[in-house]
Symmetry: C2
Subunit: 418 residues, 2 copies
């Protein structure tokens, strides 16, 4: 029997009517001949309520108790979804993480999958059940206690089940109808993509397109799980949404397939840093220890030649998430105070944004960077920092130009046309 995994997020199961609506989508796939594993999130708002109670009770909470409390939201949805399907005449039952069991590492609140044995669920399918409704986001640790996977973990649960059960596809139902060439709120020219390669989705996910968690796309790529993002709130068929798949499945691809943008960036520059071997390590080790996620890094050999810096000096610029600026400053100031690094000044620019173009076609095409820089120059957008990967070029610019830059790049790479 072919098998599908279908995952419904919090807004898709926010109340009993929406659960019914989601169940109807499951029923349709059963009628098409699939066995279905449904992964559900907590009803929207529930997880926040539970997390709030835990944090109010104990600011530095025991993560094992956090997991025990917070996982209950998904259990409620799983039971209600199973009951809804039964009402529709679809043989279904719910599964909590420990019942499957979904074996994870011991890292409470940030657990990772170890394995998902198929035997228990396969036996129920053999007995005539058509649907297994599994509580997402949770698992069973080696200590016999409930673990959770961290926020967005339900997407990852869905992909892990699709891999374990060799599902034909993993459908992620959410409140958007697919993956777009760029944020439709920035330009109405944004176009929904029918297909996108795992690598591209990974760049877009980590660049701030909030459709899917990076981790779930990574897992899908590793196990070649065909992933589809589509809307819970629209009539959908087998061609709806966006398929995220191996690039071999995508016949012809544009050089650039998406433009991503993020406001949550800040630029930090250490002015007049001694330029010596090991200086990068001396700067970035304390930042890593402080838990700062450094993204882009640029080192400029300074032309300055101050009397009090007779040796070679440089400016070091890097970007961090805007909510980590204070942590980064403190780490740098402590490193300076303890004599590990020396710099004249630390300059923070929080008025920046990151804009990126992404496309697997870049691997075989040259001139993408030049085209990008020209498009920005034509709009008089100044580039502050550049970083590149095999399939992505990112630039840091003044935040006020972000929308302008996205529109210009969307036009320049012809993304409006399919």
């Amino acid at each position: 029997m072919p098998l599908l995994v279908m995952k419904f997020g919090g807004t898709s199961v926010a109340d009993l009517d929406r659960i019914k609506n989601a169940a109807a989508k499951v029923q349709r796939e059963v009628e098409r001949g699939y066995d279905v594993i449904v992964i559900v999130s907590a009803m929207s708002g529930k997880t926040n309520e539970l997390v709030g109670w835990v944090e109010q009770t104990s600011p530095l909470f025991d993560a094992r108790e956090y997991d025990a409390v917070v996982s209950s939201g998904e259990n409620v949805t799983a039971g209600l979804m199973a009951l809804t399907l039964q009402e529709m005449g679809v043989p279904a039952r719910s599964w909590q993480g420990w019942q499957v069991p979904i074996n994870t590492t011991a890292a409470h609140s940030a657990a990772r999958f170890v394995d998902i044995p198929r035997a228990n669920i396969d036996q129920k399918f053999a007995e005539g059940f058509k649907v297994a409704v599994v509580a997402g986001f949770q698992g069973l640790g080696p200590d016999g206690r409930i673990t959770t996977l961290g926020r967005g973990g339900s997407d990852t649960t869905a992909v892990a089940f699709a891999a374990a059960f060799a599902a034909e596809r993993c459908d992620i139902y959410t409140d958007v109808d697919g993956v777009y060439t760029t944020d439709p709120r920035i330009t109405s020219k944004a176009r929904k993509l029918d297909k996108i390669a795992f690598e591209e989705m990974l760049e877009l996910a980590s660049l701030g397109a909030k459709v899917l968690q990076t981790r779930s796309v990574e897992l899908a790529m590793r196990y070649k799980v065909r992933l589809r993002v589509l809307s819970s709130f629209e009539d959908t068929d087998e061609n709806s949404g966006t398929l995220i798949c191996d690039e071999e499945e995508i016949m012809e691809s544009k050089v650039v397939n998406g433009v991503a943008s993020s406001r949550d960036e800040a630029k930090i520059t250490l002015v007049t840093v001694e330029d010596r071997p090991g200086i990068s390590a001396a700067i970035f080790a304390p930042l890593a220890e402080a838990g700062v996620n450094v993204d882009m890094i640029v080192q400029n050999i300074s032309e300055k030649d101050y009397e009090d810096h007779p040796g070679s000096v440089t400016d070091m610029t890097f970007s961090v998430p805007i909510n980590q600026v204070e942590r980064a400053k403190r780490a740098m100031e402590e490193a300076k105070a303890s004599g590990h690094i020396a710099y004249d000044e630390l300059v923070v620019d929080t008025e920046v944004a990151k804009v990126s173009v992404v496309g697997i076609g870049m691997r075989s095409h040259t001139g993408v960077a030049a085209k990008m820089f020209k498009a920005l120059a034509d709009e008089n957008v100044n580039i502050k920092v550049i970083s590149t990967s095999e399939i992505k070029i990112s630039v840091l610019i003044d935040r006020k130009y972000m929308e302008l830059a996205v529109q210009a790049l969307h036009d320049a790479f012809g993304l409006e046309a399919a």
Copy 2:
């Protein structure tokens, strides 16, 4: 290490402040040198919300899914209580039913305990944990799925743990400060009892004193678990509340210790029933099959001698819960239609109440019934039906006299004085 079981009901853990208040009571017992097993209910209102969702989703719900959904409320409280205790510096962890495991029968939504192995929790006490916080009302069925014990099951969970762990006592914290000689809303002369025997409590519990579930008292009596009812909302010490214990622990007891009353009764009379061997079985078997809980039964040999009933005839009167009257009527009418029984008329009286006096002293004292009937006669209260047990006398009277009867009996048996 001596061990206590402490149980907190829904209103006692209704919000984070109340959980903190309950945790302080647990901490005090730990400081006195006890290991403590805490049994918690769901935060008040939560179980009703979950039950409502299940019933709206599926009126004839799958009890296994009901249990999976509804049990989540207790899991949340257990985790929050453990976190609160940890914040107070008390080493504590939460336990869900399947983790202990609390093994029950397969009867979902109405499961009964099979056994509660001590090994897992004992090991944690040995490792230095002082408190095990256990989610009440739930267990693990032989099918590997979550079971629940039915409403009020958390009291029963508490008693079962007290029995399994040979606890010194099982303290039930609730929103009343003990067991009273009668309902304090009926007479201000009602007095809190310091001690009461299991058998008496059992009669009072089943007679409508809503302090404790009958089932939990039965279990306590069977395993000789000393049970104490006391208030969550007052400062309490080792003498607070009411101790429910073996009668041997009660030095001197009055003949009557309590007056119970219930409005939820109805009286049904079958007029002119053929009086033959087997007629009682013919009447009460269909009622039992229809799930009607018949309480009191009276059969009067009728003096009537109608021409069309040449044989011996009788009137049969019985009481049922008021919400089962329709079911009882239907069962009787069907039995009549199918020829199993014959009667002229079925008369329902829903304007009745049951008033009972209870006391283990009745076993060795005579004249209690006479004293009761005289007290009622003095107030011109007519008795419709009488039933007695070894330690209880119950009468059915007009509902409008219920409060008057309770007050008269409370006075007659001198219950105001300790």
